[in-house]
Structure formats: structure tokens, C-alpha cells
């Protein structure tokens, strides 16, 4: 095992500050993310591709103490999204529950402080989120939705690019709190 691998698999410093992340931000930040998703595209339509609730879920999972808080956090954000959509409640909840769980599990193994790892994880979970939501829509609701893999990849890259500065800002917010 190389030094780089050891550093990647070492304990994340974000874990140490997780308890300092106040409960207020745990409510306000997802709310802002959901609001931005339903409000900003009214005026800037091309920002509809931005999945801020997913990025917030991933960031919380990566910084959380374990998978259980992360999956509940993801489930909560997903249910709020479901509540503001026309779909049955639980679709985004299941997907974001899985994302929170897997992201928290991954954060136990990798140094998510690395921008490259952050970028890859953000892209992967975006693709996983979209794909699994498509699977659930077809399997549970019987909707014949199409899945544009190319567009999903592009949007995944864009979301991953947004995740880098967003995670940096959230980290600073956490430390300041």
C-alpha cells in the first residue's frame, strides 16, 4: 500500500468537525437547496440541471459520522422533494436514502477531502441518482421514461464541477459554526 493510498484510506478530518455542524444548518441548507431547485429555474432555466439537494446529501454523507444519519438525511431531503413534485411520495426518498447510505459508506474508506475524489464521487452519485430514479419510475410506477445516458453524463460532470466549490463553502461554514 502506497503512501497516497494510505492517505486516501485514512481518517477524514471532516469527521472531527461533524458534531460541530449545528442543527440549524442541517435544516436551512437542504431547504435552500430545495428552494433553489424549484425557484431558480423560473428565471434561469438552464440551471434546472443542477441537483443541489443531491449534492447536499452527498456532502452531508461524506461528512457524517455514519451511514445511518446520512440515509435518514437523504431520506428527509428526498421526501421533501417528493412533496413538491407530482410523483408519489417516496421516489426521491428511496433514491436519496441509497445515495446517503453509499456516500457515507464510501467516506469511511476514502479521503473525500481530495478534490479529485470529490469530483468523481459527485459525478458517480449523480449518475446513480438519475439512473436509479429512472429504474424506480419504470419498475414501480410503470412510466415509460427514456434515459439519455449522454445527457446524464454531461449533467453529472456539470454537477460534479459545481460540487467542488460548493463543498468548499459548506466545509468553511461548518468550521465557522
Amino acid at each position: 500500500m502506497t503512501e497516497y493510498t494510505e492517505r486516501l484510506l485514512s481518517e477524514s478530518p471532516r469527521k472531527e468537525a461533524a458534531d460541530r455542524f449545528r442543527i440549524v444548518w442541517l435544516v436551512v441548507i437542504p431547504l435552500i437547496a430545495v428552494l433553489s431547485q424549484v425557484y431558480v429555474p423560473r428565471f434561469i432555466p438552464f440551471l434546472a440541471y443542477l441537483e443541489l439537494p443531491l449534492l447536499i446529501t452527498v456532502h452531508f454523507a461524506l461528512t457524517s459520522a455514519g451511514p445511518i444519519p446520512a440515509l435518514f438525511y437523504g431520506m428527509s431531503i428526498g421526501l421533501v422533494q417528493d412533496s413538491l413534485s407530482h410523483q408519489p411520495i417516496g421516489m426521491y426518498g428511496i433514491v436519496k436514502t441509497l445515495v446517503g447510505y453509499f456516500a457515507a459508506s464510501v467516506s469511511m474508506r476514502f479521503d473525500v477531502q481530495n478534490p479529485v475524489v470529490t469530483f468523481i464521487l459527485a459525478f458517480f452519485f449523480y449518475f446513480f441518482h438519475q439512473f436509479f430514479y429512472w429504474v424506480l419510475s419504470r419498475a414501480l410506477l410503470g412510466e415509460a421514461l427514456g434515459f439519455d445516458a449522454q445527457q446524464t453524463v454531461i449533467f453529472g460532470l456539470l454537477n460534479a464541477a459545481v460540487a467542488l466549490p460548493l463543498f468548499r463553502v459548506l466545509d468553511k461554514l461548518k468550521v465557522a459554526s
Binding site: 428552494l35 451511514p67 445511518i68 431520506m75 412533496s83 426518498g93 447510505y101 410506477l141
Partner: protein
């Protein structure tokens, strides 16, 4: 079981949560019912914030946005004003082109249908002088234009050529104060002289106050001035009050409505009939035909076909006196004793002092009635209905209709002695129905003029 739950606690919780949500979805799909409680919570939590955000946006970013929008609107307004001005100019240009095309087509049609020979011209400029109403047209002597030619449009007369240059001509408009032309009204055939006044309307002068001219009545050229052919419209009467000695008839020239752009110069004019109109004042007294009874026939009245005028009768009396006194007129040197004219009878049948030869008395013409007031057995040329002549219309037209240029003396019309004047038509009061559709007592014979220009 406890071992499994403690070892796979995270996975167990995940499965429970996923299963719970799957059940929730299955319930919603199966029962086609929603979970309103969760949605109400979410919406209640989100929408107030969204409303606040919208208010903040409206009063902050919206204000800034409106400011920039207004800045953009200001620039856009200026750009639209410029475009609007350009479009107006283009629209006016196209309208002018269309109007020019319409006028040109009307001129062409009129030129084709008019019997007069004309040449089209375009007004190219105005003459100098504040009060003068003259324009330059682009046709000159090289096009056959001469001074004194009439300038008309399909709507009416415009003016006359006062100067003809090689490539242009100077046209005096009918509104010029020095312009004059002979005109005649449509209904009552009232003759007058059209005079320009220097403004939009013209005056018809020399019309007696007793004449009847209606407002809106049309005036046409009468052909009296030897410039404008007869029958061209001049304009409509706008006012005709009585003046000090003549009526003050103002007409609105019809040929200059909307300005003068294209005109026709009449190279050779042809008189036309003035369109007939309704007689405004049917005040003609058509006398009934005299009854030819023996009691009313004056003594010595000539038989039909015999001597017609007093001069003829006087000549016959003189001839009889010469025969009686054995005197030959025209013979003998100066100083020869003339016949005794004191013994000739009166021309009207009153016996002269002394003896009256019975044959002379037998040949006396009618007496006791003015010749002009009685029906003539044989009407004189140009006076077919002498008994119906009104005083103001007794004067014949100084210019014979149908001619513009000086013409040789017209051969006298053959005297057609009517044995009995036909009774007047009670409908139109005109004996000769083909003479004129207008009730005009003096109907000039329709003699085609040899100088008529086609």
C-alpha cells in the same frame, strides 16, 4: 437475530427505510391516494420562504432589473422612433407613388376618351411671385404647345398656357387674379366670366342678380373665350349671393382639388355638350299657337310663304308706288323728281293721307301687333322660336358652338317656311326635340364647324 442486527445494523436500517418507502409508494399507487400530510408539511414549510424570496427578488433584483429594462426600453424607444420615422417616410413615398400612378392612369384614360387632342405634362415647378398662381410644366413648344392653350385635368380645367418655351411652358392657373374664362352653368345655362381670386376659390362675374344659380351647381366652360373648349367642368358653386350689380358666385375649382401634379394641354380642342341638368326655374312661358281665324287675321296679312318682314313689305309698297307713279328706281340723274312718298300707305295698314291704292292696301302686311311678338310663319335663321325668346336670352351666343378658331362665314341656313307653327310640347317646351335636351328657347342650329379640332 441480535447478532445479525448488531453486525448489520446499518444495512438493516437501510432495508427498513427502503421497505417503508416502498410500502408507502405501493400504498399510493394501489389506492391512488396521496399522502396529504407530508405534502402539506413540505409545502407549508417551503412556500412561505418562497414567497419571501419572491418579495425580496421583486423589490431588489426586480427593481434593478426594471431599471435596466427601462434603460433598454429607452434605447429601444429611440430605435423604434427612428424606425417609425423611416417607415413613415417610406409610407408617404409609396402613397405618393401610388397616387401618381392613379393620376397617370386617369389622365391616360381621359386622354384616350377625350375628343380633343391633348398632350400630358407634369408640373415641374412654381413661378415666382407671391400672388401669382403660375406653374411650369415639362412640355414646351417642341411638343406642340403654344401660348393660349388650355390646360385641363379629367376633373376640370386648370389654367392656360401663357408662355411656351422649347422644353417647358408657363401655365397660369385659374386661381390667378388675372385669369378669366367663359363659363356656363349646368342647369340654367347662365353665362358668366370666371375670374381667379388669388386663393382657392374663383369668382363667376357678370351674372345678373335675377339669374338663378344654386349652391352646388356645376359650371362648365362655355367656349366663349376661344381657349377652353366648351363642356369642360370648372367647379361647383359654393356661394352665390346677390351683389351690387352682379351676382357674386364663388366656385370651387374641381380641376385643382388636391393640388396639380399631372395635367393635359389641349393642343386642339373640341367642343362638347354641357351635361344636361335639371332646370332649376321652369319659368318659361310657352305661348299657345295663335288661332288662325279670319277675325284675328289682320287685313293684308301675307299669306304663308309670301313677304315675311316689314322690310319686305315696305319694299313691296315702294315698288307698287313706283309702278303706280311710273317711276323706275335707280334711273335718272341726281335731282330727278322722286316718287311722291306722301301717298304711300302706312306699313301697318293705316291709310296715308290721300288716296290709297286698293292693291296696295291688299298687300299691306299685318298691322297692330309687333312683329316680334307674333308667330312668324317662316322663322328666320337662328331664330326658330322667336315667340318664345326671353329678354335675357335673346342675344345669340357670340361664339358659335363647335368652333374654337376663326371660321369662315357660315352659309345661311335655308329658310324653311312652316305653314303652321307646331304646338309647343307641354313637357319640355321645345318644338324641336332634337335641338337640345335643355329647355333653351334659342336653340342654335347644330352646324358642324369646319374648324373643329379632333
Amino acid at each position: 437475530m441480535d447478532f445479525f442486527l448488531s453486525r448489520y445494523r446499518h444495512l438493516t436500517v437501510l432495508l427498513i427505510v427502503i421497505t417503508a418507502q416502498l410500502v408507502l409508494i405501493a400504498y399510493q399507487v394501489k389506492t391512488n391516494k396521496d399522502i396529504p400530510l407530508i405534502r402539506v408539511w413540505a409545502v407549508t414549510a417551503v412556500t412561505p420562504v418562497e414567497t419571501g424570496l419572491e418579495l425580496v427578488r421583486r423589490y431588489t433584483w426586480g427593481f434593478v432589473e426594471d431599471y435596466f429594462v427601462l434603460l433598454h426600453v429607452r434605447g429601444q424607444n429611440e430605435r423604434l422612433l427612428r424606425e417609425n420615422g423611416q417607415l413613415k417616410i417610406e409610407n408617404n413615398y409609396l402613397k405618393a407613388e401610388l397616387s401618381t400612378a392613379d393620376r397617370a392612369r386617369a389622365l391616360s384614360v381621359f386622354q384616350t376618351r377625350s375628343p380633343s387632342r391633348t398632350v400630358a405634362a407634369r408640373v415641374i415647378g412654381n413661378g415666382t411671385g407671391a400672388n401669382s398662381k403660375v406653374v411650369f410644366v415639362d412640355r414646351g413648344s417642341t411638343s406642340g404647345v403654344e401660348s393660349g392653350m388650355a390646360v385641363v385635368t379629367p376633373d376640370g380645367i386648370v389654367g392656360k398656357v401663357v408662355e411656351a418655351y422649347p422644353t417647358a411652358s408657363l401655365v397660369m392657373l385659374i386661381t390667378d387674379p388675372t385669369f378669366a374664362a367663359g363659363v356656363v352653368s349646368q342647369k340654367n345655362r347662365v353665362h358668366g366670366t370666371l375670374k381667379g381670386q388669388g386663393h382657392a376659390e374663383c369668382l363667376v362675374d357678370y351674372v345678373q342678380n335675377e339669374e338663378h344659380v344654386d349652391i352646388g351647381e356645376w359650371f362648365y366652360t362655355s367656349g366663349d373665350d376661344r381657349i377652353f373648349p366648351k363642356g369642360f367642368p370648372v367647379g361647383q358653386v359654393t356661394a352665390s349671393p346677390n351683389g351690387k350689380s352682379f351676382k357674386e358666385i364663388y366656385i370651387s375649382p374641381s380641376g385643382m382639388q388636391g393640388g396639380v401634379e399631372e395635367v393635359l394641354i389641349v393642343l386642339q380642342g373640341v367642343h362638347q355638350e354641357v351635361p344636361g341638368g335639371e332646370v332649376a326655374s321652369p319659368s318659361y312661358n310657352i305661348l299657345a299657337a295663335p288661332a288662325e281665324t279670319a277675325s284675328q287675321t289682320p287685313q293684308g296679312a301675307p299669306k304663308p310663304g309670301s313677304l315675311a318682314t316689314d322690310a319686305d313689305r315696305l319694299r313691296a309698297i315702294y315698288k307698287d308706288v313706283g309702278v303706280e307713279q311710273k317711276h323706275t328706281y335707280g334711273e335718272g340723274p341726281p335731282g330727278t323728281k322722286p316718287p311722291d312718298f306722301t301717298r304711300i300707305p302706312s306699313i301697318h295698314g293705316v291709310p296715308a293721307p290721300g288716296s290709297v291704292p286698293p292693291n296696295a292696301a291688299a298687300q299691306q302686311p299685318s298691322a297692330g301687333r309687333p312683329a316680334a311678338a307674333k308667330p312668324a310663319p317662316a322663322p328666320a335663321p337662328g331664330q326658330a322660336q322667336s315667340g318664345q325668346v326671353q329678354p335675357n336670352q335673346a342675344q345669340p351666343n357670340p361664339v358659335q358652338p363647335g368652333q374654337l378658331k376663326p371660321v369662315p362665314p357660315k352659309p345661311p341656313a335655308p329658310v324653311t317656311a312652316k305653314p303652321k307653327p307646331a304646338p309647343p310640347d307641354p313637357d319640355n317646351g321645345v318644338d324641336d326635340p332634337g335641338a337640345s335636351p335643355v329647355r333653351r328657347p334659342v336653340a342654335p342650329p347644330a352646324v358642324p364647324s369646319p374648324a373643329t379640332n379632333q
